[in-house]
Symmetry: C2
Subunit: 459 residues, 2 copies
Amino acid sequence: MTATNKTVSIPQGTRDFPAAVVRKRNYIFSCIRKVFEVYGFEPLETPAMENLDTLTGKYGDEGDKLIFKILNNGLNNEKNINSTRAGFEQLLAGKNSTDITERALKYDLTIPFARYVAMNLTRLTLPYRRYQIQPVWRADRPQKGRYREFTQCDADVVGSLSLLNETELANIYHDVFTTLKLNDYELRINNRKVLAALAAVCNGADKMTDITIAIDKLDKIGLENVKKELAERGLQSYQIEIIERYLCITGSNEEKIDKATVLLGNTESGKQGIEELGFLLAHATNVNLVVDLTLARGLNYYTGTIFEAKAPASVSIGSIGGGGRYDDLTGHFSVPGIPGVGISFGVDRIYDVLEELNLFPGVLEVGTRALFFNMGEPECLYAFDIMQGLRKNGIACELYYENVKIDKQFKYAEKKNIPFIVIIGSKEMNEGICQVKELSTGKQEVVPLAALHTYFNKT
Amino acid sequence: MTATNKTVSIPQGTRDFPAAVVRKRNYIFSCIRKVFEVYGFEPLETPAMENLDTLTGKYGDEGDKLIFKILNNGLNNEKNINSTRAGFEQLLAGKNSTDITERALKYDLTIPFARYVAMNLTRLTLPYRRYQIQPVWRADRPQKGRYREFTQCDADVVGSLSLLNETELANIYHDVFTTLKLNDYELRINNRKVLAALAAVCNGADKMTDITIAIDKLDKIGLENVKKELAERGLQSYQIEIIERYLCITGSNEEKIDKATVLLGNTESGKQGIEELGFLLAHATNVNLVVDLTLARGLNYYTGTIFEAKAPASVSIGSIGGGGRYDDLTGHFSVPGIPGVGISFGVDRIYDVLEELNLFPGVLEVGTRALFFNMGEPECLYAFDIMQGLRKNGIACELYYENVKIDKQFKYAEKKNIPFIVIIGSKEMNEGICQVKELSTGKQEVVPLAALHTYFNKT
């Protein structure tokens, strides 16, 4: 056979998933999907491409640059040439032009979801509980753990203000992580109202976004650099001092809440945010909740509870999920007044964590369970019918159709991680039996053909 | 609540899939996937985007026009401006330019599969049996049943010449269709070698492609128009006469094979093609095979057996799958000599057939099985814990978190097709019981809370 062609490649930041990886990814997806469904969330799928104006202006300037735009077809048709030229000049000026591109790949699942809700509001039953597991695309600089095509897993409830939604979503994190045996996960919680109170108390209500952005970096850059950034963003030293006092609050969940109450409990927003944190702690008692007053989350649209799920401390992979409450999902699409709350799982990160902790079930390694050897033409045709009988019983098997040396057939089974081989030679054919060999142990057994499917159903 | 925004839309030819549709589609996918796996095929997933030069030149000029290309990012960066302008002029001249676009959305699953095999040949174990279920994109004119984003389901074996592969793939069609209760499917078969023999016998070996393309239209345009097209494509009347004699062969499978042998059995290619058809008929005895000598299939790369699966005649939807044998999968990528055979399922068509014949299982209509009513704040918090107990037992349920009138909660259950409602008022709380009402019958029962999950596991 000819050699692999090394000059062929795939786009930077994208991946092929061979069988072993697909099986492991599906294990994670199916676990998340089952939990979502048992919680009454229903599936939604939206197209890979959206109209460009559905996406632009929703992710900030930096986000907009990362949207993959799709070239219109037929640009060089004669009747299009003039508008194509005009559109191209617009593009060079840094503007979008529908003459060149009017569609783009989705950048996340939230905006397509908002677009869907706005388009279908009269048909939907509110509260609408949907989950969505689909790939998204970002023209980000590829690096370890960051891809240009990756899958998001989101669950959102829109049209309900009850804090029981938050309680439920916290439980979803718990159920998914414990099903995946990530028992040492942490679900950090905070509340944007608490952060708003902090801004108010330090007289920086107008600087709420600056404060949030700076605090959000605490984990990465440390307290001193956050203070520096706050100063650069125009906060004065007495303000920074109050923020520092807040960021240095430590202790158990209860202690943190007590200290935050002292600092912020005089404001309406502070009181409410702290109450909401208390509600979650009181009702999601199963969940390994950690009040983290320094949790801010970058996204601007959160208005209440915010979540961040952390992998077990033993692995150096940080956030494996996040979410929060927002006031206005569909305002961008001229349908204001729909509040909601949602969470997301970081599947690529979870994959790395499970791999590192060796938590993928061994059964995922096996596809085909038995390989029937090809012992010659009549034997092979005979074995084909026997194999079809096994397949009817749901046992995944193959027959080596090419008539090659036994050696090569052995190698095939080993390389494909097939645990059993089945040998039917002319002697076995005459006696209605076969030899079954387990590759891991080398153990070989004679099994009557009539009992073969029972044999595999047991092992 | 505000009204639906009707000005928001999605790109022409794309679709949102709400829960009911996702469930039905997943029912089809999961059936196909299970059969593929039991036959020892392993999953592969490739990225949505490929390098543009991986795709261009593989689908013919018409196909190339239907490829969705992705605009490079940062075209208006200052350092790019010159090459962007140059690239744009190339684009206007009808050529590709990597300065403007170097990636594109995949158009089918076959070329990405070929690219994958060429890239990974040394790591793969041949024969390589892979299946792939993923969306593809084509800038086709949208019409009923034709979309710009649709999902393909392919299974291919590469690196094996044995006809048992064809036998197995025919059985896969049978198993999938009968699992979906499409028992009256037909699997039409023919062989490109038979068509090559026909071309040779009528002295038109150089016109093989023309003959194939014309014959492929027989179903749609009728015999007279096929003859007209053959004439237009330069076939002479004595040649057309032989082709007509061939196309008019009728009868049972055996009769057709006998008549074809008389006409074409003198050529090496004819003999071989007819033998191969005979092998399939002899060994895929389960399968509802119909020899269809007029079956040609448009694609140029087929060289042996060709398949076309037809929906039951009672629905006016034609092909629901197709495939065939090819000699050279990866030749385009400088890795020649890898033969293979593959099949594909037309999921959108199968969906329409199942819908028309009412063959989707009723259970797909139901997501959430029980809705707990909100009877006030303490009752609601109490019910939350009871509900969590059910969810732990795998029973999909919800609690109406908003404190609204019972009426509205009833409507929610009805609109969401939730079969049961569970009522826990203060009286029930005190007695440790609940009222369970089945909406379809109106039947109401008192169930002890401790027995609730057993109740739902039984119903």
